[in-house]
């Protein structure tokens, strides 16, 4: 039986699972963790959503969540994949954006209805004088940029 108190504890355990491809942020900060609840049978049910349709990290996230829950005594937990509403970079928390920036990844702009290509600030030296090298970077969610001021290449998480 999972009480309200332990549900909060379970949620905290799941929320701390790092993203396998961006381990500086948790799945909660990334907005990938959608829900943690307990079903009628007392079983922990976790809902996660992929960043991109083909995100290969989603299976690793599922395994990591189940492993963390097993460590805390929840052997029969279930992880469900939900597609709607579609993930957006707007769900990345302020803490997540700060962590990305701190680790050299320029965080995304707000994903508005109008696709605007704004200047991306270099996460190393802060210069707005940057250039996109490739729209598709080391993972589907990032593009590759270079800074004209400090000449360093860097990743930028694309607005989605």
């Amino acid at each position: 039986m999972v009480t309200t108190t332990t549900l909060a504890a379970v949620r905290a355990v799941v929320a701390e699972v790092p993203d396998p491809e961006l381990p500086v942020v948790t799945i909660e900060d990334l907005g990938v963790l959608r829900d943690v609840r307990v079903d009628d049978g007392g079983r922990v049910v976790v809902e996660i959503t992929p960043t991109y349709s083909g995100c290969p990290a989603i299976d690793a996230i599922r395994d990591d969540v189940l492993a963390r829950l097993r460590e805390h005594g929840h052997d029969d937990a279930e992880v469900r994949l939900v597609l709607a509403p579609a993930w957006t970079t707007d769900w990345i928390t302020a803490r997540g954006r700060a962590a990305l920036h701190e680790h050299g990844i320029a965080p995304p702009h707000r994903a508005g209805p109008v696709a605007l290509t704004l200047s991306v600030r270099c996460p190393r030296c802060g210069s707005p004088n940057t250039r996109e090298i490739s729209r598709f970077g080391s993972t589907a969610c990032k593009s590759l940029w270079t800074c004209r001021a400090c000449l360093e290449p860097f990743d930028h998480m694309k607005a989605l």
Binding site: S53, G54, F136, S138, L160
Partner: protein, 269 residues
């Protein structure tokens, strides 16, 4: 011995030998097969693109499509109710039972041919998914709502390359025009409603493909014009992919895609 059917993919006779499916299953499977087959084609570019950034870009676009394919094939299998999962549908069907459009199975050609196909197909997928977001089928609506954001990037990527190559050097212009000429015979099929689609449109499940032609052209033709490219007028139109009729290229693609799974059933890594 039947008479030669004419230009590739134009045969339009009766039964195709494809397994008969419920219209809704066939529709979802067709969309899934489009994504699966094109994902495989784009994967063929890995380590072979003109620059490493393009290896990564085409692989990422293929990965998005593969993700869409997995959900669509799984959904088709559930609708069919015969116990076939995404792997059974991807790896254990023969050529005639693939419902993809012929445009996605065409060989990659050079980078300009692939760019032309990406422009034509991603612009089509954009209009398709934009409308399927309102489908009465919640899974189709969810896939579309997610995929349209990805396809927006795919379409933009193809557009940028079309402009750069078309309005580039004499050689890049010549090859981009040749690429468009090679792909355009397979464009018209994207807008052909299959025999079963009308009923699905009436139920709010599917989108009438013929309604996509105009918005598709409103996007693609100005791109070609700006890229100083002529819109081709193909001498023939491939058709029949949705009914299992394919060009020679698909069989070779499936042989490569399926042989491991068939030779070693249940293999994992």
């Amino acid at each position: 011995m039947t008479a030669h059917p004419g230009p590739p993919g134009t045969w339009d006779g009766g039964s195709t030998g494809a397994t008969v499916l419920e219209p809704r299953v066939a529709y979802v499977l067709g969309l899934g097969d489009d994504a699966l087959v094109l994902a495989h084609r784009l994967g063929e570019w890995i380590a072979g693109a003109p620059q490493i950034e393009e290896d990564i870009a085409l692989a990422n676009i293929g990965l998005d499509l593969l993700g869409q394919a997995r959900t669509l094939l799984s959904h088709a299998g559930e609708l069919e109710g015969a116990g076939r999962d995404e792997d059974a549908l991807a790896y254990l069907r023969d050529e005639r039972d693939f419902r993809n459009l012929q445009i996605v199975e065409r060989p990659n050609g050079d980078f300009a041919v692939t760019t032309a196909r990406q422009l034509a197909f991603s612009a089509y997928q954009y209009e398709l998914y934009d409308r399927l977001r309102a489908s009465a089928d919640p899974t189709l609506a969810a896939v579309a709502g997610k995929a349209i954001k990805e396809v927006t990037y795919h379409r933009d990527h193809a557009t940028q390359w079309t402009l750069r190559l078309g309005d580039g050097t004499d050689e890049s212009h010549r090859r981009m025009q040749a690429g468009v000429e090679q792909i355009w015979p397979y464009v018209e099929e994207m807008f052909e409603p299959g025999p079963a689609v009308a009923g699905l449109v009436a139920q709010g499940l599917a989108t009438d493909p013929s309604l996509l032609r105009e918005p598709w052209a409103a996007y693609v033709h100005p791109v070609l014009t700006q890229a100083t490219l002529a819109v081709p007028e193909p001498a023939f139109h491939g058709r029949g992919g949705r009914r299992g009729l394919h060009t020679e290229a698909l069989g070779y693609l499936l042989a490569e895609m399926q042989h491991l799974h068939r030779a070693h059933p249940g293999a994992t890594w």
